[in-house]
Symmetry: C2
Subunit: 695 residues, 2 copies
C-alpha cells in the first residue's frame, strides 16, 4: 500500500523514540509562552468587562457615567480587589504545584482530597472550559481581524475553523516545536503592552495624556441602580482576568526537571505580568476616560490615545492583541489532552485518550479538542458574544474545587510533626510550619471564587450559562458510566474467577469458497496443513453460479474434501453462514468452529476498493458467536515488475514445458517457485476466459 | 449489537426473496409513468428553447421577432421536423427493444455490433447523462417551486438535496413501490396538459383565444442573423424534446413478461403522447404569441392565457409541470443502476454495482447516482442554467451510437434467408423482410442525431459542454483501467497456471498477548487445541507494563509456553510484529506463520468504541505478508440478565467453594459451565483491582 507512514512523517516530522521524552520538555521562557497565553489574553477584555457593568448604573433615571464621571473610576478599586484575589489564587495553585508534581490541577487535588465524584465534576468543568476557551479565543481573535478587514465577515466561520486546524497541526508536531513557534507572538504582545503602559504612564506624569475622543457610546438594554450587587457584578466580570491561571498546574509534566520548581517559578512570573498589565491597563483607561463601546475595544482606545491615531505603534498593539487572543487557544491544546489522558487512565474516559502518537503528544486528545471546538464555533456562527456567557462558570468551579481541596490537604500537613513525612498517593508530604497560613489563604480564595461562580451562573443563566449548568452533571454521569463499564469488564475478565481451561478441544475447520481459483488452492493447502477435520462451504447467493462452483470444486479438489452449498435466497452473506455454524456447534457444543476465508490483498487502495473485501465484514459479524474463530488467509496480488499484469506473493508461477510440448491445460507439477529460482519467463499464456463475478 | 438489520427492514420494508423478482416487475401503465417521465418533462421546455433561439434573429439591426411576427412562427415547421425525427428515433429504438430483450440500450447495441470501445463510450455518455438528468430536473423543479415562493431561495441547494434523498429512499424501497408512487404525478401532468391543449384548441376554433399579455421581454446578449445556422440551432435546441426516449430500451427488464412486447408498446404510447403534447404546445404558443422570457415559462404563459389569470387550472398546470420536472429524475434512478450493473458485469465498473439489495434493486447503483447528482447540484448551486449546457451532448451521442449499431445489426438480418435464424450473443435473430427499410430509417436517424450533437457541442462548448467533451474520454479511460485490472487479476488467479500445492506445510503459531486475563486463557486454549508448535508474544510499547505482563504470564501460563516481549521504542504496534514474523519466516520460508489474537466483542456499539479493536488493524496490516495467516478469537462480553455487570459467552463463571471455604485466589477447577447448569450465583466477589490499560 502507498505508505501512510511516509505521509505522516512528512507532515509531522520523524517519529520520536519514547526515550526522547525528556528532550521534548519545555524551558521556563517557552513554558511561559505556552501556558500563560490564555491568562495574558484575558487582560485584553477584563478591564472592558468591568467598565461595561459599571456603565449600566443609573441614578435618578439617568446613566450615572454620563452625569458623574467618578462611577467609571470605581473600576480602580475593583481592579485592586481582583488583583488581590488573583494573588491569592496564585499562591493556592503554587501549593498545588508542589503538592502534586505530576500535574493534573484541580482534578488531582479533588481526587486526592475530596473523592471521586468531586474529581469528575472538576474534570468535566475543566474539559468543557478548555473547549470553550478554544472556541471563544479563536472567535474573538477572528473578530479582531475582521474589524480591520470587514469584507471578510462572510468567511468568519471557515476562517475560524482553519485557524483551529493550523493550531491542531502545529500541536501534533510536538510540544517543543509548537511551543517555540507560539512564543514569538506571546512575547510580542507582552512587549507591546508594556511599551504602551510605559509610554502612557510617562505621558500621564508629564501631563500630556489626553482623553479619548470619538468613541461611539454603547446603548445598554438593561440598566441597574448603583449598589452592592452591581459592584459585585463588576467584580465578577473583571475576574475573567483570572481565567488561565490553572494552566501551569495542569501541565507541570511539560516542564524540564526540576519540574515543580520550574513550574512554580513560571507561575509567579505569569501572575506578576498579569497583575501589572491588568492594573496598568485599568489605571490608564481611567486616566483617558475610556468608554465601553461595541465598536471599539478599550485596548484600542488606549492604544490610539497613548500613541496617537494612525501611529504605527497603535496598529502593532492591535496586532499583538489579536495574536494573543488566537494563541490563548494553544494553552487548551497543551492542557486538554493531558487532563483527558489522566481521566482516561483512571478509566473515566475512553482509553484511546491515553495513547501518545509519533511525536510524543496525546494525539487523540488533541484531535478530540479540535473537533469539539470546531463544532462549537460552527454552531455559534463564530460569534464571541454567543459563547462568552458559557465561559468562566466552569473555570471558577474548578478554582473553587481546587482551593477547597488544598484546604483539606493542609489538614494532613498540619497533622505532621517537624521532620515527619507521609507518603501520599501522589507525593511525599512534608511538614510545613506555615501550613495554617496557607490553609487560610486557600480558604479565602475558595470563598471568593465560589461567589464569583454563583454570580456568573445567575446573571448569565438565560444568555447561555444554563447549558453549562446542565452539561457538567451530564458529563459526570457519562464519566461514571464509562468507568463502570471498564470496571465491570475487568471483573468479568479477571483470571481470579476464571478457571484455567487446560483441556484441548475439538477444532472443526471450514473453508469459505467464493470462486474456485488460486486463492482457493491456498485455503485448501492451509486447511490440510492444520491437519484438523475440514470441509468447504459456499454461500449460494446465485443458484446457477453455485452449481458451477460446485462442479469446478469437484473437478479440482473433490478428492480433498466435500463442498457444501449453503442456500441464501435473500442474497445475504453472513446470516446463512451463522446458521450453518450454529448447526455444526449443536453437534459439538464444546469445540471450536474454525472458519477460514481468503482475502485478496492488492498493492494500492483503489485496486483494493474494486474487490469485495468481505473478510472484514465476516470478521465483524462472526465475532458475536462464541467459540467461533475466524482466520483470514491473504493472497497477495502484486504488480509485475515489467508492468504487464500481476503476480502473487514471493512465488512466481512458471510454466515448465512437459516432454511432449506445452500443454496449457495440464497442471504444472512444479509447485511454488521462489522468484529468484524461477526460469526466464516463457511466452505469455493465452488469456484467461473465466469471467469474474464475486471476488 | 443493536440490530442494523432491523433498522433497515423498518425503513425499507421486509427483505425480498430472490424468487419474488417476477412480482417486482411493472405493468405497462406503471412502466410508462416510471420510464416516460424524463421524456415527458422535456415538453415543458422544448418549445421554449426553440422560441429562445428564434428570438435571437436580427435583420437590418433590429430584432426580427419584434418587427416581424412571423419569425417566431417558424417554430411550427421546426417542431414538425423535430416530431418526425422523434418518430424516426422511436422506430429505431423499437427495433432495439426486440433485438435486445435483456435491456441495455445503446450500450448493448454498441457492444454487440460496434466493439468494446464504442460500447464504453456509449456507457460513459449514458451514465453521465443520467447524473445530469437528475441534477437538471431537480434544480429545474426546485426553481419552479421557488418562483411561487421566492423567500425560499436561500434554501435552494438544501431543498434540492433533500428531494434527491427522498427519491433515493423511495427507489431503495423497490421498483414496484416507487413506480406506483410516481405514477400519480406523471398522469396528473399528462392529464392537465391534455386538458390545457383541448381547452386551448377549442378556444382557438371558437376565436376566443387571446394573445398573451404582460410578459417581460428577454434581453439577448448574443444576436444572430436569420439563416440556415440559426434554424439549425433552433432545431437542435428543440431536440431536447427527444431526451428520455432511450429510457425504456435500457430498462426492459423491469417490465412484466412478455417483456419486449410490453416495453415496445409502452414506447409507442410514450412517443405518441410526446408528439401530441409537443406539437400541441408549439401550435398554441404560436397562436397566443408566446414570448421567451426569463421571468415566465412558455407553459405558464399558455396556462394563464388559456384559462385566464388566477384560474385554479392555471395553478394546477404549474404544479403538474413542477412535479414532472422533479420526477424526470426518477427515470434516471431506474436506468442508471441497471446500466451500471451491466457494465460492472462486463468488468468495466466496480463489481459492487452488480449487487442487488434487500428489495431486489441495485442498491449500490442507486446510492452512487444519488451522491454524484447531489455533488453536481451543490457545485452548480442548484442553478439549472449552469447545468443545461452540459446536458444533451451525451444523450445525442448515445442516440447516434445506438442507431449506427442498429444499422450494422440489420446487415446481419439482411444476410439471412426467410425461415433462417442466427443465434446472436443476446438473442435469436430472425429473418425480417423489411430489414432494408428499417436500416434506412435508423441511418437517417443516426445522421440527424449526430448533427444535433455536433451543434450542441459547438454552440455550448464554452458555456459548459467542454466539460462533457473532456469527461467522456476520461471515463472511458478509467473503464478500461478497471477492466484491465479485473482481467489481469483473473489471469493471475487462474488455476490453469497454478500448481495445486498438495504438500502439507509447517504451521508456526503465535498468540498475541496484550494483558493476562480471561481472554488470554482462551487464546492459550485454542493454540493448544490446534496442536501445532506455539508461543506467545507481547509488543512492549510500555517497558514497565511489559515486565508486568511477563511476570503474570510466567505465573499463570509459564508451563504452557514461552512469552517473548518484542520491544517497541516508537510505540508502534504493527511494525515490530511484522519484523518479528519476518524473522520467524526467515527460519522456515516455506511454512505458514499463524498469528492468533483476541478481540473483545461487546453488546453495543458504544461499548465497543471504548476498546482498542486492534484485531481489525492487525488484520489489515498483516494481510500484506505472504503466508502469514491471522486468526481472531473473539471473547464475548454480554450484559448480565440481572443488569449487574457482564458475563461471557454462553458459559458462566461460577465460584464453587472448595472444602475449606471460599478462597478467591485459588483457581476454580470446574471449567466452563453452561448457563443452564450453573448453580445459583454466590455473593459478589471482591472488585478486581487490575487497572485496564491496553484492552
Amino acid at each position: 500500500m502507498t505508505s501512510y507512514t511516509n505521509i505522516k512523517e512528512f507532515l509531522l516530522g520523524r517519529r520520536l523514540d519514547s526515550g526522547e521524552a525528556a528532550h521534548q520538555s519545555l524551558s521556563k521562557p517557552v513554558g511561559l509562552a505556552v501556558f500563560a497565553s490564555d491568562a495574558l489574553s484575558s487582560t485584553a477584555y477584563a478591564t472592558e468587562e468591568i467598565l461595561l457593568i459599571l456603565s449600566m448604573a443609573v441614578s435618578g433615571g439617568a446613566l450615572m457615567w454620563q452625569t458623574d464621571g467618578t462611577i467609571l473610576g470605581l473600576s480602580w478599586p475593583v481592579a485592586i480587589a481582583i488583583a488581590i484575589l488573583l494573588f491569592i489564587v496564585t499562591i493556592s495553585y503554587r501549593q498545588t504545584i508542589f503538592a502534586y508534581p505530576n500535574g493534573g490541577g484541580a482534578y488531582i487535588v479533588a481526587r486526592d482530597n475530596l473523592g471521586e465524584t468531586v474529581a469528575q465534576v472538576a474534570g468535566a468543568a475543566l474539559l468543557t472550559d478548555y473547549i470553550l476557551t478554544v472556541a471563544v479565543s479563536i472567535s474573538s481573535g477572528t473578530a479582531q481581524i475582521i474589524s480591520a478587514f470587514p469584507e471578510l465577515n462572510q468567511f468568519r466561520v471557515p476562517m475560524a475553523v482553519v485557524v483551529i486546524a493550523i493550531i491542531t497541526f502545529l500541536n501534533l508536531r510536538g510540544v517543543k516545536e509548537s511551543g517555540r513557534i507560539f512564543a514569538v507572538p506571546t512575547y510580542f504582545f507582552v512587549g507591546m503592552m508594556f511599551f504602551t503602559l510605559i509610554v502612557g504612564f510617562i505621558r500621564h506624569l508629564t501631563g500630556t495624556l489626553p482623553q479619548v475622543q470619538g468613541v461611539e457610546v454603547l446603548e445598554h438594554q438593561v440598566l441597574e441602580p448603583l449598589g452592592l450587587f452591581l459592584i459585585l457584578r463588576a467584580f465578577s466580570s473583571g475576574c475573567t482576568a483570572l481565567t488561565g491561571i490553572e494552566a501551569i498546574s495542569n501541565g507541570i509534566t511539560a516542564f524540564k526537571e526540576p519540574r515543580s520548581r520550574n513550574a512554580a517559578t513560571t507561575l509567579m512570573w505569569m501572575s506578576s505580568i498579569l497583575i501589572v498589565l491588568f492594573l496598568g491597563i485599568t489605571f490608564l483607561s481611567n486616566q483617558i476616560h475610556a468608554i465601553p463601546s461595541h465598536d471599539e475595544t478599550v485596548i484600542s482606545q488606549l492604544g490610539r490615545t497613548v500613541f496617537g491615531n494612525g501611529s504605527i505603534f497603535y496598529y502593532l498593539v492591535l496586532a499583538g492583541t489579536a495574536l494573543i487572543l488566537l494563541l490563548a487557544a494553544n494553552t487548551s491544546f497543551a492542557d486538554f489532552p493531558r487532563l483527558a489522558a489522566l481521566q482516561a487512565g483512571d478509566g473515566f474516559l475512553p482509553r484511546q485518550l491515553t495513547y501518545r502518537g509519533g511525536r510524543l503528544v496525546f494525539s487523540w486528545g488533541i484531535l478530540v479538542l479540535a473537533v469539539f471546538a470546531s463544532i462549537l464555533v460552527i454552531l455559534a456562527d463564530a460569534r464571541t458574544s454567543a459563547l462568552i456567557p458559557l465561559y468562566a462558570v466552569g473555570v471558577f468551579l474548578s478554582f473553587t474545587i481546587s482551593q477547597v481541596g488544598m484546604v483539606k490537604h493542609m489538614n494532613l500537613v498540619g497533622k505532621l510533626k517537624p521532620g515527619e513525612t507521609h507518603d501520599g498517593l501522589e507525593t511525599t508530604i512534608h511538614y510545613d510550619p506555615r501550613w495554617r497560613l496557607k490553609q487560610v489563604i486557600s480558604a479565602i480564595g475558595a470563598v471568593c471564587t465560589f461567589i464569583v461562580m454563583i454570580v456568573f451562573a445567575v446573571t448569565k443563566f438565560t444568555s447561555g450559562a444554563w447549558f453549562v449548568v446542565v452539561l457538567i452533571p451530564a458529563l459526570v454521569f457519562f464519566f461514571f458510566r464509562i468507568h463502570h463499564h471498564y470496571k465491570e469488564v475487568a471483573r468479568a475478565l479477571s483470571l481470579r474467577y476464571t478457571p484455567v481451561d487446560t483441556e484441548r478441544r475439538h477444532v472443526e475447520t471450514l473453508i469459505l469458497v467464493d470462486k474456485v481459483h488460486a486463492e482457493t488452492a491456498r485455503l485448501v493447502n492451509f486447511a490440510k496443513s492444520l491437519n484438523h477435520p475440514w470441509h468447504a462451504i459456499h454461500i449460494g447467493i446465485n443458484p446457477e453460479y453455485a452449481q458451477r462452483v460446485n462442479r469446478e470444486w469437484k473437478e479440482r479438489f473433490g478428492d480433498e474434501a466435500e463442498l457444501v452449498v449453503i442456500p441464501s435466497p435473500f442474497r445475504l452473506l453472513a446470516e446463512p453462514l451463522e446458521e450453518y455454524i450454529e448447526s455444526r456447534q449443536a453437534a459439538d457444543p464444546t469445540g471450536y468452529v474454525h472458519v477460514i476465508m481468503g482475502h485478496l490483498a492488492m498493492d494500492t487502495y483503489w485496486e483494493q476498493a474494486l474487490h469485495s473485501n468481505s473478510a472484514f465484514l465476516f470478521n465483524l459479524v462472526l465475532s458475536r458467536l462464541d467459540r467461533v474463530v475466524v482466520t483470514t488467509v491473504p493472497y497477495q496480488i502484486h504488480h509485475r515488475a515489467d508492468g504487464k499484469g500481476y503476480e502473487t506473493g514471493e512465488y512466481q508461477k512458471v510454466e515448465i514445458p512437459v516432454a511432449t510440448g506445452f500443454q496449457p491445460t495440464e497442471p504444472n507439477r512444479l509447485a511454488w517457485v521462489h522468484k529468484q529460482d524461477a526460469p526466464a519467463h516463457t511466452a505469455d499464456a493465452p488469456e484467461a476466459s473465466e469471467p469474474d463475478n464475486q471476488t
